[in-house]
C-alpha cells in the first residue's frame, strides 16, 4: 500500500470514529452550539414565508453527477432538498426543483417521492418536479431562468455543482427581488456567488446543511469532527512552517522516503 493510500484510510477511520464518538456523547445535541450561518437561517425563514404566503421555494441542484469529484456537492444539495421538503410539508405549493444532471434528476425525484410519502402529501400533483432542465452549463442556466422568474417563487436555493454560469441565476433572482441562497464547490463560482448572491455559502458551509436544517445528530457530530480535523491541519501547517524555519524539514522527508 502506498503512503497516500495509508494516509487516506487513517483519515477516513479517524473521521468515522470521531463522528460516532460525538454522536454518542451528544445525546441531546443543541443546534445553538454551532456557529450561525446566515444562509441557513435565511432558508428556515424563507420556508416560513412560503408557508404563510402560499408561495414556492425554488431549489436548483446544479450539474454535478455522482461519478466524479462533483458528487459530494451534488449529494449535499440533495440532502438540503430533503430537509427543505420535510420542513415545507405544510406549504400550499411544495418546492420546485431543477437539475442539470440526469442521475441527480432521478435521485431528486426519488427524494421528493420518498419524503412526500413520509410526510403524507396525498396529492401527487402538488409534488415538485425535479426535472432535468439542460445538460450543458448554459442550457441549464437558461432553462432555470424561467423558473426563477415565476411570480410564485419566493426564494431561490442553489446548492450543488455550478460554474460561473451561476451568476445568471443569482442575478435573475436579484432582479426578481427574491432572496438567493447559493453554495457550490467550485472556487471561481464561489467568488461569483459571494459577489452576486444575497446569502452565499462559502467553502465547507455547503456540506453543513443537514446540521443547520435539523437533519439529526450525526450531522452535528460531523461538524464537530470537521472542527477537530481543522485544528489538526492548522497545527500541521504551523508545525511545517516551524520545521522549515528551523531547517529540519528535510530530516522528516528522508524518514518518509525510507519507510514508505
Amino acid at each position: 500500500m502506498s503512503a497516500t493510500g495509508f494516509t487516506g484510510i487513517v483519515v477516513i477511520v479517524l473521521f468515522l470514529g470521531l463522528m460516532i464518538f460525538f454522536s454518542i456523547i451528544n445525546q441531546e445535541p443543541k443546534q445553538k452550539n454551532i456557529r450561525p450561518i446566515p444562509a441557513y437561517d435565511k432558508i428556515n425563514q424563507e420556508i416560513n414565508v412560503s408557508v404563510e404566503d402560499g408561495t414556492q421555494l425554488h431549489i436548483s441542484l446544479g450539474r454535478g453527477g455522482i461519478t466524479g469529484p462533483e458528487s459530494a456537492a451534488a449529494l449535499a444539495g440533495l440532502s438540503i432538498l430533503k430537509q427543505v421538503i420535510e420542513k415545507s410539508s405544510v406549504c400550499d405549493y411544495p418546492p420546485v426543483v431543477s437539475t442539470g444532471n440526469a442521475v441527480i434528476s432521478i435521485l431528486a425525484q426519488d427524494t421528493i417521492q420518498g419524503t412526500s410519502k413520509a410526510i403524507s402529501v396525498a396529492d401527487k400533483g402538488k409534488n415538485p418536479s425535479g426535472e432535468l432542465v439542460g445538460v450543458t452549463p448554459f442550457s441549464y442556466a437558461a432553462g432555470t431562468l424561467t423558473t426563477i422568474r415565476d411570480k410564485n417563487v419566493s426564494a431561490n436555493i442553489h446548492t450543488g455543482w455550478f460554474g460561473s454560469e451561476i451568476t445568471w441565476l443569482t442575478t435573475a433572482g436579484e432582479r426578481q427581488s427574491t432572496p438567493t441562497i447559493a453554495g457550490t464547490a467550485q472556487l471561481p463560482a464561489q467568488a461569483v456567488i459571494y459577489a452576486s448572491a444575497s446569502d452565499p455559502l462559502i467553502g465547507e458551509e455547503l456540506y453543513a446543511g443537514g446540521a443547520y436544517l435539523g437533519a439529526g445528530k450525526i450531522h452535528l457530530a460531523s461538524i464537530s469532527a470537521q472542527d477537530i480535523f481543522r485544528w489538526i491541519i492548522i497545527f500541521i501547517i504551523l508545525g511545517s512552517v516551524l520545521l522549515k524555519f528551523l531547517g529540519i524539514d528535510t530530516f522528516f522527508e528522508y524518514i518518509l522516503a525510507g519507510s514508505m
Binding site: 500500500m1 493510500g5 487516506g8 483519515v11 477516513i12 473521521f15 463522528m19 453527477g65 455522482i66 461519478t67 459530494a72 456537492a73 449529494l75 440533495l78 432538498l81 430533503k82 440526469a102 442521475v103 434528476s105 432521478i106 435521485l107 426519488d110 427524494t111 417521492q113 420518498g114 418536479s129 426535472e131 432535468l132 432542465v133 445538460v135 450543458t136 448554459f138 437558461a142 432553462g143 424561467t146 460561473s164 454560469e165 451568476t167 445568471w168 442575478t171 436579484e174 464547490a185 472556487l187 461569483v192 459571494y194 459577489a195 452576486s196 462559502i202 467553502g203 465547507e204 456540506y207 453543513a208 443537514g210 439529526g216 450525526i218 460531523s222 461538524i223 480535523f229 481543522r230 491541519i233
Partner: protein, 214 residues
C-alpha cells in the same frame, strides 16, 4: 410489503457499492472491481440521461398545453430536441449504410448553432460578472465586501496591457495578490471543501444521510 423492503435493499446496495469503490482506491487488489462498478455506474448514468430527456419532453409538452406565458420557449425546446434527434438518427443510418462514421449533419448543428450560442452566452457572463462586482457594495456594506471590491479593482487594473495606461507597480501588486493571499485563501477553501466532502461521503456510507429516497 414491497414498499417496506425497497428502502433497506436500495440503501444496502448503495452503501455496499460505495464501500467497495472507496476501498478500491486504497487496496490495489480490488481495483478491478472498483473499475467494473464505476463502468456500470457510467452505463446507468447514460440510461438516466435518456430517462431525463423523456422527463424533459413530458414536462415541456405539459407546459405547451397549459396557459403558460413561457409556452413559446417550451415549443422551441421540443422542436429543437426532436429535430436534433431526427438528424442524429439519419446520420446513424447513413453511417451504417456507408460502413464508416458519418455525422456531418450533427456536427453542422453543433458547429454552427450550439457552439455560437454557447460562446455568446459565455460573453454575456462577463457582463453579468461585472454587474455583480459593481453591485456588491450595495448588497453588503461590510469589511469583507469592501476588501473584495478593492481587490477586484486592483487585479483588474494590474491586468491592463495598454502600454500608455499601464502602471508597473500595479502589475507587482496584482502578481502578489494572485500568488500570496489569493492562493492561500483558495487552499483554505479547498481544505474546507475536502473536509466537507469526506464527512458527506462517510454519512452516506453509514446510511445516516440517504439522499436517494427512503
Amino acid at each position: 410489503m414491497n414498499i417496506k423492503l425497497r428502502a433497506p435493499v436500495s440503501a444496502a446496495i448503495a452503501i455496499g457499492v460505495g464501500v467497495v469503490v472507496l476501498a478500491g482506491y486504497f487496496i490495489p487488489s480490488i481495483t478491478n472491481i472498483r473499475f467494473a462498478l464505476l463502468r456500470t455506474g457510467l452505463v446507468l448514468a447514460a440510461v438516466a440521461l435518456l430517462v431525463g430527456i423523456i422527463n424533459l419532453l413530458s414536462v415541456h409538452f405539459k407546459k405547451m398545453g397549459s396557459d403558460n406565458e413561457n409556452s413559446g420557449y417550451s415549443l422551441i425546446l421540443v422542436i429543437a430536441l426532436l429535430l436534433t434527434l431526427v438528424v442524429g438518427i439519419i446520420d446513424m443510418v447513413q453511417s451504417y449504410m456507408l460502413g464508416q462514421p458519418n455525422f456531418q449533419m450533427t456536427n453542422w448543428i453543433f458547429t454552427y448553432i450550439q457552439l455560437p450560442i454557447e460562446t455568446s452566452l459565455l460573453a454575456v457572463i462577463a457582463v453579468s460578472l461585472t454587474y455583480a462586482a459593481a453591485s456588491i457594495l450595495r448588497k453588503r456594506m461590510d469589511l469583507f465586501s469592501i476588501t473584495f471590491f478593492f481587490v477586484i479593482l486592483l487585479v483588474l487594473l494590474g491586468s491592463f496591457s495598454i502600454p500608455s495606461a499601464t502602471l508597473p507597480f500595479l502589475h507587482v501588486i496584482r502578481d502578489w495578490i494572485v500568488r500570496v493571499p489569493a492562493l492561500g485563501g483558495a487552499r483554505g477553501l479547498l481544505i474546507g471543501i475536502a473536509l466537507g466532502t469526506i464527512t458527506t461521503g462517510i454519512r452516506i456510507l453509514m446510511g445516516t444521510d440517504r439522499p436517494y429516497g427512503d
